[in-house]
Symmetry: C2
Subunit: 353 residues, 2 copies
């Protein structure tokens, strides 16, 4: 990882990264917010920043780890989510004086502590989980915000920049040759359009491998399970990083036929990094992550997705990886956040002068 | 209501009362925490304190009302409890500089903001809702706490005093003559021992009137509903203040056969205020609220409760009311809180000198 431009001047800046505590940071399997918080943390450490990571006690990091809970509440049923959230978030704010900046990945809840401290707080908005939380964002709209795609922005918030999520490309090596399967990788939930991927597989006659946690059991039972036949359409459960690479090695293309606007779509970048073309619904951020006809195809329905399958040979697998290297590497992301941090330090200096 | 001893010196002290937002303050029917927060608020205002009440927008108060939500989340299904709690609690702390003291009735959550402000915070602990929340109380054990009974204390917390809940005696006039029914008034929940009250009614042959919100539907269907006969044992739903008085006017005694330690037991004081004797399980605070053989009887099981029925004529109804007037009036409670506030102001002054 290359050195930041201003390593020498930045080395004394102390950053607190407030990660969620649903899962370990980085997560074992599922956990996009924790993945990104981890990548930012490790990227900053590599460039000489003094970073404290607030995360679960079993987290893996080269930063200083500060934990109030051993394991994530999604991984340990004895952990009370509400108690843990209040303790975890407030802990970072109680230590505010130790930091030059708190970089929060903790949704709307952390905002309610921001006006009680003088340390500036940057919030990366990983998604708006419900209309109700917009009241909180509107109240704190003058804070510092980063969007993870241009499409996932709420009006009126003080966005400093869009910083795309970065992935660790070393985890997802270019697969030397293409596989034969279509793959689906993501939460089993209607939002992710597993049923549409199945429909594409049925219409094209190509095999489909489905991987991911079941977030909506009824949806799985009603719209996924009936189509599983252990041969053409298979479900293999959640996968870790080696599991993802195994999946990518068998992939002809990733089907990502989301039914609601995607906020970023980490898996699109991961697949592309491995040289796997992506057929994605043209909703939300997909057109920011996928370059149409170069790293995959943007489609509007199942019919267009089936048609796109015929054009897969046009996609250059190494071009897919290069695209990710340029736009969605950890380095590129950390460059982005260093720019944002500098903007904040400048604005804070002006406020105080 | 009499004037406080130091009204002149206190008049400039500014108190924020942070009430829950589950229900209106005061609540229409059920809502013990909101009832007590309301009684404290109005009692302080009557004595000349400058009070700001943080509560739902539909709350009724002579204090300054500050609201971030129109209606309680238990009364309006469009209100998101999590969003509302974070917005409501933090709002009081953001205005900390406007107050000499924040008096929180908002459970463990509010504690997580206390170290971010310099205004002292007093927490009245209305109950420990789960073992998990003890972690938070232990972390903030050096704060200022009031218990609502000597029995409902957790070890290690910095309790300044027990201040018994006070009720507005004008709402519950002495019923001139006793009625014929046994009454149960409280949440329909196993903790409250409705099934034991029914058993007492069955064994004694005396009629029983049951009132209160159904908090445990299965319990109601399995252990209450089968015994209802519209004649000897009846359920009349939740009741407001006039409904309670109607109930007290028909009461021979209140049966309060709780199965877990009671934390305070507002309804015991309300019944006594109306001149209704109470037969209460000797668990938790009941022996602090009921004076055995003077305002009712403390029992250990159904058999003793049935035996106690025979001794009801020994109870002097006016003595019941006098007992409440002395120990559980708003005035007595506000006296207690004024003592506690003074202790806090003294300690804060010492800290700063």
């Amino acid at each position: 990882m290359r050195e930041g431009l201003n390593t020498m001047t930045r080395i004394k800046k102390r950053i607190a990264v407030l990660s969620p505590v649903a899962w370990r940071t980085p997560p074992r399997r599922y956990g996009a917010w924790e993945t990104v918080a981890s990548n930012i943390t490790e990227g900053l450490v590599a460039r000489g920043w003094d970073v404290t990571l607030f995360a679960t006690g079993d987290s893996l990091t080269r930063a200083s780890l500060h934990a109030v809970v051993d394991r994530g509440y999604e991984e340990d049923s004895t952990v009370d989510p509400k108690v843990t959230e209040y303790l975890h978030i407030s802990e970072a704010f109680e230590r505010a004086a130790d930091f030059d900046l708190i970089h929060s990945h903790y949704d709307f809840m952390a905002l309610t502590y921001t006006r009680l401290i003088s340390t500036p707080v940057l919030t990366t908005i990983h998604g708006f989980s419900s209309p109700e939380i917009m009241r909180v964002y509107q109240k704190y709209r003058d804070g510092y915000f980063v969007s993870i795609s241009d499409s996932d922005r709420a009006p009126g918030l003080n966005y400093l920049e869009t910083v795309y999520n970065g992935i660790d490309l070393s985890l997802y090596p270019l697969q030397q040759s293409r596989g034969d399967d279509l793959i689906f990788l993501g939460r089993i939930h209607p939002d992710k359009g597993v049923h549409l991927a199945i429909e594409v597989a049925r219409q094209s006659g190509w095999p489909l491998l489905i991987a991911g946690i079941i977030q909506d059991q009824t949806y799985f039972e009603e719209q996924v399970e009936p189509h599983l036949d252990d041969r053409r359409i298979r479900y293999i459960g959640p996968v870790d990083v080696p599991g993802k690479n195994e999946l990518f090695s068998r992939a002809r293309a990733l089907l990502h036929l989301n039914t609601i606007p995607e906020r970023f779509g980490l898996v699109l970048a991961e697949a592309n990094a491995a040289g796997v073309p992506v057929i994605a619904m043209d909703l939300g951020s997909c057109r920011e992550v996928i370059e149409d006809e170069r790293t995959g195809f943007l489609v509007n329905n199942v019919k267009e997705a089936v048609q796109a399958l015929q054009k897969l040979p046009e996609i250059d697998r190494t071009a897919c990886r290069e695209h990710v290297q340029q736009r969605f590497s950890i380095d590129t992301m950390v460059d982005g956040y260093e720019r944002v941090y500098d903007k904040i330090f400048d604005q804070e200096t002006k406020k105080r002068s």
